[in-house]
């Protein structure tokens, strides 16, 4: 698929504060991209820059090959779903949805017809005559969505559109959004601080921190092979253990002066090793040796059981190591017990210091 949106080395600062720093990103047609990061990481500014509400200090933005860097929002072929929906309170739902079409000069009857179609798409066909204040948060969210897709933009920008909804509704809307996106074939750029949301919806995730892009990739890729320490910590739970490689090529974890066989030929000399909790299992030492697992021994300090799985915190020579076991905790996992935590060395992901 061809590239629809190009963000070419864009930067923005407010005073001495750098909000965006050398941002480079391509979005392809029909792609679902999530901008993910903690609050203040610049993801919303990046979205507003694409929409045209913010002009970059340097770099350019291209949509469909056209340079739109200095075009005002009303001349860009994209639409936005705003965080608090920003529905027009003095207009009915149908008028809200028809607004964008009317501003294009489309006659009222045609605009209303197309607006009604868009409302049907979000299952609100019967609500056209209501005012936004007469609707629930979830319904307002759908109206905002209908209003944004009614003009069939090539790109839809969504600024944390689900953050105001409760957990159950949010899960439901995540699926609906994903289906809608597949149905319409519009590229979605979705801002969120919720990594699960990003993982479950997006084709690609752009992880941002302090105005920079830390990593771009599919959810599974980012989870399996985080490029930086920040990504490893931000996406899911992770045990981070510093390591260095020995002269013979072994990897030595700082914890318990522990050595594993070499896994890759070009391993960074020193850095942190990422070990996901689900890759650690409580084992007895004989089983570990026979399965060629590496072992850490620690004292159980905390057990949290959430039913489907249990989380075990263990003190391994002063490091808090988290392991996740399926099901309820077994007999061996009891507070104060010494346990062996085994892992397959190939599950270690290494991040070099210079990265």
């Amino acid at each position: 698929m061809s590239t629809l949106l190009t963000i070419d080395t864009v930067g923005k600062r407010y005073g001495s504060h750098t909000v965006l720093d050398n941002i480079q990103l391509d979005v392809r047609e029909g792609e679902f991209v999530a901008l993910l990061g903690p609050s203040g990481c610049g993801k919303t500014t990046l979205l507003r820059l694409i929409a045209g509400f913010v002009e970059p200090d340097y770099g350019r933005v291209k949509i469909d090959g056209q340079d739109v860097t200095h075009l005002p929002p009303y001349r860009r072929q994209l639409n936005t779903v705003f965080q608090n929906y920003a529905l027009f309170p003095h207009m009915t739902v149908l008028e809200n949805v028809a607004y964008g079409l009317r501003r294009e000069g489309i006659p009222r009857t045609e605009a209303n017809g197309r607006a009604a179609e868009a409302l049907a798409l979000v299952t609100l066909a019967a609500f056209g005559d209501r005012y936004p204040r007469e609707m629930s948060g979830g319904q307002q969210q759908r109206v905002a969505l209908a209003r944004a897709v009614v003009k069939r933009p090539k790109i839809l920008l969504l600024d944390e559109p689900l953050s105001a909804l409760d957990m159950k509704l949010r899960k439901k809307m995540q699926l609906e959004l994903k289906h809608l996106q597949e149905k319409l074939g519009i590229a979605f750029i979705f801002v969120t601080h919720d990594q699960e949301e990003a993982m479950s919806m997006a084709d690609r995730i752009v992880v941002m921190n302090e105005g920079r892009i830390e990593q771009i990739g599919a959810g599974t890729e980012i989870y399996r092979a985080p490029a930086t320490r920040f990504v490893a910590e931000f996406i899911g739970d992770a045990n981070l253990l510093s390591y260095e490689t020995s002269t013979t090529g072994e990897i030595r974890l700082a914890v318990q002066a522990f050595a594993t066989p070499v896994m890759h030929s070009n391993v960074p000399k020193r850095g942190v090793a990422v070990l996901r909790p689900e890759h650690l299992q409580v084992v007895d030492s004989t089983a570990a040796q026979s399965n060629s697992l590496c072992q850490l021994s620690g004292v159980v300090t905390d057990i949290v059981s959430v039913g489907s799985h249990s989380i075990i915190h263990a003190d391994v020579s002063g490091h808090d190591i988290i392991a996740r076991a399926m099901g309820l905790p077994s007999a061996a996992m009891r507070l104060g017990n010494v346990v062996q935590l085994g892992f397959d060395p190939s599950d270690l992901h290494l991040i070099g210091d210079c990265a």
Partner: protein, 281 residues
């Protein structure tokens, strides 16, 4: 249950009593006076209403009064909106905005009489305004402002403009910036955004300011009295004459009730219009 009622009742008692004693009671007194007086002070009569409503002179005064009030309201709204826009939207320097608001409000704390005299000086035959107009070559002979409706209008707009600016400014400040961004995002140029989003959202504020200005200007006395130069009469001046010079409280009362009735009708009409247009706020 009883306690639940007792507390709000007690809290309401003082303002209710005050309202009844100093607002309702005098109004009732005026109302009673307007329906009595002929042939002797305590007999019921419609004489004064007939005298007012069947007479061309009185209708003339009523029309002048309301024409000035409506024009004042229009001018205040048309002038107040851009000023409010400037203060709320264009001024980014907080200190300058505060100073501007002070400048807008300061005339309100000086006496109406002083301000009316000021305008008499400015608008007189040899006043500053005429001198400037003649110097600029815009007129050969000095224009007459004093004793014309235009002169009164200028004075009234000056006195009442702050009310428009403050109410409209308040309404403008409340418009959700996200709604404007949504409008631009949906392809509306700034002018379209103004007419379709910003203006409708400020309409309740505009209406509220208009009603304040209208009611104040319809009942204004000092400004029209001083700037009329004895040539133009508005209702409040007739009422004042009846109470202060001829001591006819019945006639004056009837005039007051007529003014009140017409004002209420106008305000009710304005309310209906703004309710229909701005109901969704």
């Amino acid at each position: 249950m009883r306690r639940a009622f007792a507390v709000p009742a007690l809290m309401l008692a003082a303002p209710s009593a005050f309202f009844a004693a100093f607002f309702l009671a005098p109004l009732v007194v005026v109302l009673i006076a307007s329906f009595t007086g002929v042939p002797h002070p305590k007999s019921l009569t419609f004489t004064y209403y007939v005298q007012i409503l069947a007479d061309r002179y009185h209708w003339n005064v009523i029309i002048v009064t309301f024409r000035i009030a409506i024009l004042t309201t229009l001018c205040c709204t048309l002038l107040g909106y851009p000023v409010a826009w400037y203060l709320v939207r264009l001024v980014h320097w907080q200190l300058w905005r505060r100073l501007c608001v002070v400048l807008v409000v300061v005339p309100l704390v000086t006496s109406n009489i002083v301000r009316a005299f000021g305008w008499m000086v400015l608008l007189g035959r040899n006043g500053l305004v005429n001198r400037e107009l003649m110097d600029a070559g815009l007129t050969v002979h000095p224009l007459r402002f004093l004793g014309t409706e235009l002169g009164i209008l200028i004075g009234m707009v000056y006195v009442l403009l702050p009310f428009s600016i403050l109410t409209i400014g308040n309404a403008l400040a409340r418009v959700d910036a996200a709604c404007e961004e949504a409008s631009a995002d949906l392809g509306a140029r700034p002018v379209a955004t103004f007419w379709h989003v910003i203006f409708p959202l400020t309409l309740p504020g505009v209406a509220a300011g208009g009603i304040i200005v209208f009611t104040l200007s319809v009942s204004a006395y000092v400004t029209p009295a001083l700037l009329s130069d004895g040539r133009i009469s508005v209702l409040s001046m007739l009422i004042f004459q009846q109470y202060s010079s001829t001591f006819n409280v019945h006639y004056g009362g009837a005039l007051s009730i007529v003014l009140l009735a017409f004002t209420l009708i106008m305000v009710a009409l304005a309310n209906r219009v703004s309710e229909r247009r701005g109901s969704s706020i």
